[in-house]
Amino acid sequence: MTAVIKLDGVTKVYRTGSIAVAALRGVSFAIDPGEYVSIVGPSGSGKSTLMHILGCLDVPTSGRYWLGGDNVSRMDEIDLAEVRNRQIGFVFQQFNLLPSLPAWRNVELPLIYAGAGRAERRRRSIEALERVGLGSRIDHRPGELSGGQQQRVAVARALVADPALILADEPTGALDSHSAREVMNLFNELHHAGRTIVMITHDDEVAGAADRTIRIRDGLIWPATEAA
């Protein structure tokens, strides 16, 4: 079985003037289809950088990164946009919904960029909202929904284009414990339905819900035995 994600010696160095900061110092691991993996580390550990690289929002300084069999570490901006659109469903800490659009319009955004037709977009958006238990809220704007409901809209948006990977960045970070539990249950359901999920968090309790936890500290996988 081909790994959904395979990282091989990935480094990332940020340069600010003459100062170079190595955020990742050689990270290698693989994630198989259907796995539910959490990536845990304290702030400053490099986990945000790792998340950006996994999400194809940034490219590694060196090393290689395969996503769904494609080497994405040397792709240009336009190809990366395409990869993000087709392979990755993002769930952000701050939901990142567009406040002026009703729920289903937010959910359909990835399908617009994928070039899907109007009727198909609406149908699939509504299906995705029903999947996360918001079938009765399709025309509500984000401001009319609770935090937990907003995050579920964001999950629906991550699901709608049927990506290979769902990448969640602190998905419960902005939620109260009740809403957080709701969202975590939703991830469990998605996992049982066969989705590949990578969740980045600093919260061990949240990370414990995953099958496997990758710990990162000072830009390295820790303990080193975790490396694939």
Partner: protein, 412 residues
């Protein structure tokens, strides 16, 4: 990602940011209205100047005889020679010879002493012998009685038409029509009085209200005793055909006078050239001035669009980042912002034209100055408004497209 989808997204953003969109549109609207109105004002002023000049007869050419050399060898100035004949005038009046010439009035003039039959007042003024055509060529009319006609010319009739100033100087209050005026010993019956043209003397060099019109034949044979003409007045079909009328008259007279070298011409043709060129330069100055103002308002409107679009980019960094994270390519983001800017331009332009139309209807009542709304300016203004949206939208759109998705998502 189709253009239609982009347009829909752009329109949605315009609607979602109502206040900001309205302010942008307001800026363009005022700019465009200012442009359309100033162009209209310029057009109105030009039309007014043109009609004022037309009333003086800009279509008019004056053929004068050339210089002459006396038997003692002294050259005399232009107008002194006796080279213009009635045959010349008749030739110019022929439509086949000069199609751009509408009417021709031969004139024989001289300053003469007048005495009236009622008060025996005396008065010295210009006596012009001419034909019926003079009335239309000079754009004049009579307020009393009638003008001289072709029959008078044929009959060498002893009749005269007085200018209003001449009439009041001689007859002082008495109705001059039917009275007799003595011109250089020849008694003439007054048959009419010309209308007054007031201060036209300032542009024509002589007082048009103080003159006596007599039939050409009467003047040449009974008063002056010389057949040559003082001038031939030529009216072109329009001010546009003035130069072709000039060329036709010039060519015909050179041929008639058998002159092969134009510089040896024994006549000269002048137009109300100074008047025309003055008015043209005034018009041009006005156009440049108004064009400058219009250009500045457009520039201000355009910078307004750019400013608002830049604010919009800054304000919507997270939205742009999100859209890019979800798979929007830079070209789509650029298109979206360009379309938003041009929609703002289009709406602003259309509303500005509406405002200008309203201003065209209402302003002249307030300022007492005509405004001519031109269709071309209106269509052009809308096109310019859209172009402004596009041109000044390019930079913000490019900036938006270049944003890195992570930086954009990180910003709070």
């Amino acid at each position: 990602m189709s253009w239609l989808e982009t347009l829909r997204t752009g329109l949605f953003a315009v609607r979602a940011n109502r206040l900001r969109s309205a302010l942008t549109v307001l800026g363009i609207m005022i700019g465009i209205a200012a442009v359309v109105l100033t162009v209209g004002l310029g057009q109105g002023a030009q039309n007014q100047v043109k009609s004022q000049i037309n009333s003086l007869g800009t279509n008019l050419l004056t053929v004068s005889p050339g210089s002459s050399t006396s038997s003692s060898g002294f050259r005399q100035g232009f107008g002194s020679a006796s080279t213009l004949t009635q045959a010349d005038a008749q030739a110019l009046a022929s439509a086949s010879v000069a199609p751009d010439i509408k009417a021709v009035a031969p004139v024989k003039s001289s300053s003469e002493g007048l005495t009236d039959s009622v008060n025996s007042n005396t008065w010295t003024t210009t006596v012009n012998g001419t034909t019926e055509a003079w009335e239309t060529v000079r754009n004049r009319s009579v307020t009393q009685g009638r003008f001289i006609d072709d029959q008078d010319v044929t009959d060498h009739a002893a009749v005269a038409v007085l200018g209003p100033t001449t009439a009041s100087e001689l007859f002082s209050g008495v109705d001059p029509v039917g009275q007799t005026v003595d011109v250089d010993g020849v008694p003439l019956t007054v048959v009419g009085v010309l209308n007054s043209v007031g201060d036209a003397s300032s542009t024509t060099g002589s007082n048009q209200d103080d003159q006596v019109i007599v039939p050409l034949s009467t003047a040449t044979q009974r008063i002056f005793g010389s057949a040559s003409l003082s001038s031939i007045l030529v009216e072109a079909n329009s001010s546009a055909s003035l130069s072709s009328a000039y060329q036709e008259a010039d060519a015909e007279l050179l041929a008639l006078h058998e002159i092969t070298t134009p510089s040896n011409a024994d006549f000269s043709i002048s137009s109300e050239a100074s008047l025309v060129s003055t008015s043209t330069s005034v018009d041009r100055t006005l156009t440049i001035l108004l064009g400058g103002i219009a250009g500045i308002s457009l520039l201000v409107g355009g910078i307004g669009v750019m400013n608002i679009m830049l604010v919009s980019v800054t304000e919507r960094v997270r939205e742009i980042g999100l859209r890019k994270a979800l798979g929007a390519k830079p070209s789509f983001i650029r298109r979206q912002f360009l379309l938003e800017a041009s929609v703002l331009g289009l709406v602003g332009g259309a509303l500005g034209v509406g405002l200008a139309v309203a201003g065209t209807a209402l302003l002249p009542k307030a300022i007492g100055y005509p405004i001519a709304l031109s269709g071309l300016a209106t269509v052009g203004a809308i096109a310019v408004a859209v172009a402004i949206g596009v041109v000044f939208g390019v930079y913000p759109a490019t900036r938006a497209a270049r944003l890195a998705p992570i930086d954009a998502l990180r910003s709070e």
